[in-house]
Symmetry: D2
Subunit: 352 residues, 4 copies
């Protein structure tokens, strides 16, 4: 507390931006939110009611310019389309940067962010793969690192969104980059987290269907998909992604080692309440990703703030984030073309 | 955030005091911790390292005196023996008061706190029965109030502490007031929460044993005990309390209604990690009450701060806290004497 | 299979009699059912359709007389009122006897069965406390005996029947002997099973309410009740019995030892099916005791048949069954009088 | 019981043959085992001790010949290599035939069994895919058929064998036909069961690794493998198969529909016992497939016997068994070649 307080500006004050804003303001040690940028009237109104002391800007560049010296770090929670551009600008302007995932939907653009960050080694740059800050994934990581499961060899990971009966996901699909890029990127990130960033793919395959929303076909997207990845060292990963769950968000991960298996979210419960009634013995599932990962969102900004305050390196590499994006794109490619992708021993696709 | 910030002073900076201090400082909206009171060197050292900006006092009275105008609320996390005295002084000095449970081990003393609070209706006074702020108990309350279980008629509640192989609990027993007063008071509070504060006991009985720590007998205390309460309206409660659990903290509550049953903490899991290995399919339990209720501790001070900021009444009555203490004492009496206690229709013990 | 086949006659062909009849006929090794006794036309009709080769009698005495030499063992599944009488007659006529629980609702009558059995040591006599033959209770027993939980000190046991919205339980109450005698007798039996038959009660108390069926009051019975038992060696047992469950049968047992806890039926699932839908993540509970204990019923007759075939002693004593009945009666007494019962060190009630 | 008793002969008295023998003898209604065929001395000795009344043959053909008129049905539990041959002979000799899965490791041979069976429509022929007779899979089927999950669109199925530290699986691999043919064939069968036998594959892919037993590579086999199947109607199936589980047998199935999801064996428990101790809150998993599916084995022979007694058609087609074998072979092909297989709209592989 005696330590330096990190002053944040936030870009984007929509759903996720508001979560981050409130978290920085009330649940992050040594942090305060002082500025924000949005062109949306509704968002400005929300700020007025909830965080009236914020200095609000319409223009991102202006904010970066004017807040020099008053702001230490920029949290980027704007639309994905501008993640990369805004990250680069903020880094170049000397700010620490926390950017919501993904860095970009475009691999080259994302690569530029990574490059820019590397050119500014004294600034902290973190892309928000929130699961890495979730208490259960952290506990699993600790146990894996301690050798509890022997050598981790197989990962099964699922991202399951609650079904929307309306066309929410169809509209969303226009800009999401596809279900693997939007959702499975988290599961790919977990593979890099638990297998290590150096694991090299040998073959990738994927299948998908638009079950609930046939309209997704027009974006070459789907609402249910599977992918398999085989790595050169014999490890394997399997991904399932779906927007068809009717009980709630079900993100499920299994890490299978030579000596044991760790499962995260086997029971998919929202809290510790069980109901026993004519429907059976039951518990509710989280409504959405935020209900599942709220505390991970709080933790990631606490941790990011600590990196800044203590001037410690960010323990996660942006290279891994870039890799996750690339692999997600490959999966998207497989499901679109119906073909497998083979890789050389450097992990470069042979027939992409 | 634009709203008034509540400035806190804390009394007691031991284990629970430190939790509250860090929570107020970093996880409570509209709150800041500015002063603290302790005579312990270790605690002062901890403050120096963690919250160096605090104004630290040796003397509680001096703190109350000097912080007038600089502090709005006092959080009392000192030893139980001085809870009542410190609460009364702070209320009389014009502060809002958050007091760790219980108000006192002495019924008359506790009654004085309640009286004093009533004499100062413009100040907020809350006794920290943290379970009422736990997300799962809150969800259960909501469901009960919505009628999900019909009429709640039976409550089974258990407080289960992790077993200490050493004499921790024996030493602790000297000042704890007995296992029912120390632990079951939470379960009694839940009965008052779910059945309503007006429920009137008809008969109370209890049995107990000192299984793990026979030395507890010298304090007429035990480490395993059961109690039954029958109410005049036909409702019933059953309590089990134990210090014998080897897997961790297991606080378990069932609320049985005419149409359904709600269970809180049926699965006693620490997080969402499951391990499958030669020991079976397993998950870990929380280590202690704070591992189980950490977020409830954060929530209770957030809520308390909101009552102050918004000048809203505390929704829980101190009368209920007093009642819980009385009943806990009755249970202690039953286990010590081997007799049941009967009550008249006003809830006054007939043969106490 | 080469071994002697045990030829059974059955008394009573109602619900439970039919279960036993089909089990003996098709799921018990070395057993065959050859005769039956009932005065009910519906039951005779059922036999005609399902087991037409049976020799059917109206009169129990006649059956015992005529089947001498053709039948080895009698299974008694008639109404509880005649359990004792029929058992005694069969034993005296030289048959092995399997009698459904309880031996009687009357302690003296039950004692006579025990006495008669002891006078005929070459015949096998077993009272069907089916839980002792349930795979899970057997596994728990094995683990307790192997020392997994250290010394077993506390048992919490619940028998929970599915709620009947109609007056089924009210009609049933007329002849059931009261809820403790009808249901909790199983839980008492488990205490004798896990603590050993020599455990001596020091104090018994109980409370009860007629929540769903207030009409039960006319039989001094209730549909929800708790009881506590303290034993002279410091062990304790707690019983909950209810007819209020809306999800199904929930019979639940915890055996707490100094080193660990074993729970039987923590998850109350009917099978291995889980449903995830808008009601949550859920599984169904067994509909009734037979859905829960079907295989235990099959096992108990397989085991009983083995005792006969191999001429091995029945490993469970009838004394324990008698003791369970007595204790159940004491509980019934407590709930009716509102008093506790104290016992001398021989386990004789002081103030009964 | 009055009904005709089905007299069985069994071929093969090794592990699975003994299970079937005891089941037919003691747990199958209207069935008796009268003859058996084996050349193994150990098996003959076992029969002598356990089923001494059996007429035992060294030669299968001789048994078929001599038991004409004395035996109604043949249960084939010999080595997989002779399943087809023995089935065909028995059918042609006029017997009903129950054959352990698979019909053969060779598609053409299996096809001949199917053909032979069709040529003898008055005889019952069943291939023992035991999961179809498991209470939980049956309950899931009932719920799916009742529409509980809407339209079933996605199946995730896993067969997980307990890890053997020794070379058991390596030796076994010589004759198993590969992990997909040995294990996943059950999961494929479930797909045909829940999606219907007419579902037509569009694309199949698979990856595998020999993680625990690198020696498996010499048989082109593996101990961990994934496969994806996309069907022409947009449905999908995903298979995981492993011999790496250290907690026990974990066969797990999810059937995801447009309205809900059904999971079979989510909790992988062996029975209803939960242990709470320093290892956590845990339950044991079944040791192997028989511990998991024992009752399904009993049920399948009860059902098969009923088809004979009541002269009802076998409700499962041998065509589906043949199809399952073919698909398992395709998966094996994919994992060996590293290629995907595409199918025309008749379900014929294009590039096999």
């Amino acid at each position: 507390m005696d330590k330096k307080t990190v002053r944040y500006a936030i870009s984007g004050l929509g759903r996720i931006g508001r979560y981050h804003s409130m978290n920085i303001s009330t649940r992050v040690a040594n942090a305060e939110l002082v500025a924000g940028c949005t062109i949306m009237d509704a968002d400005k109104q929300w700020v007025k009611e909830n965080l009236p002391h914020l200095r609000i800007y319409d223009d991102y560049d202006e904010m970066l310019e004017k807040e020099k010296g008053s702001v230490d770090a920029v949290a980027i929670a704007s639309s994905t389309a501008v993640h990369a551009e805004q990250s680069i600008k903020a880094i170049e302007a000397g700010y620490h940067v926390f950017c919501e995932k993904p860095l970009s939907l475009d691999v080259d653009e994302a690569a530029k962010v990574v490059e820019t960050a590397k050119a500014h080694p004294n600034q902290k740059v973190l892309c928000g793969f929130s699961r890495r800050f979730d208490a259960s994934y952290l506990d699993a990581k600790k146990k894996v690192d301690e050798g509890l499961i022997g050598k981790p060899m197989v990962i099964k990971a699922q991202t399951g969104d609650k079904q929307h009966k309306d066309d929410f996901f169809v509209k969303y699909a226009e800009k999401s980059g596809g279900i693997f890029v939007d959702c499975t990127i988290h599961d790919i990130d977990l593979v890099l987290y638990y297998f290590g960033e150096d694991v090299v793919p040998q073959q990738i395959s994927a299948i998908g269907s638009a079950v609930i929303h046939p309209e997704l076909a027009k974006f070459k997207d789907c609402d249910n998909a599977f992918a398999n990845v085989k790595f050169w060292d014999g490890r394997m990963a399997n991904f399932y992604v779906t927007r068809m769950m009717t009980h709630g968000q079900e993100d499920y991960t299994e890490i299978l080692g030579t000596e044991a298996k760790i499962t995260v979210n086997k029971n998919v419960n929202n809290n510790l309440v069980t109901i026993s009634d004519p429907h059976g013995v039951r518990h509710e599932a989280p409504e959405d990703f935020y209900a599942r990962f709220e505390m991970a969102f709080v933790t990631e900004l606490n941790e990011f703030t600590k990196y800044i305050v203590n001037d410690k390196p960010v323990p996660f590499s942006l290279d891994a984030n870039l890799k996750a994006l690339k692999w997600a794109k490959y999966l998207q490619h497989c499901v679109e073309t119906g073909k497998v992708l083979n890789f050389n021993e450097k992990g470069e696709p042979i027939d992409y």
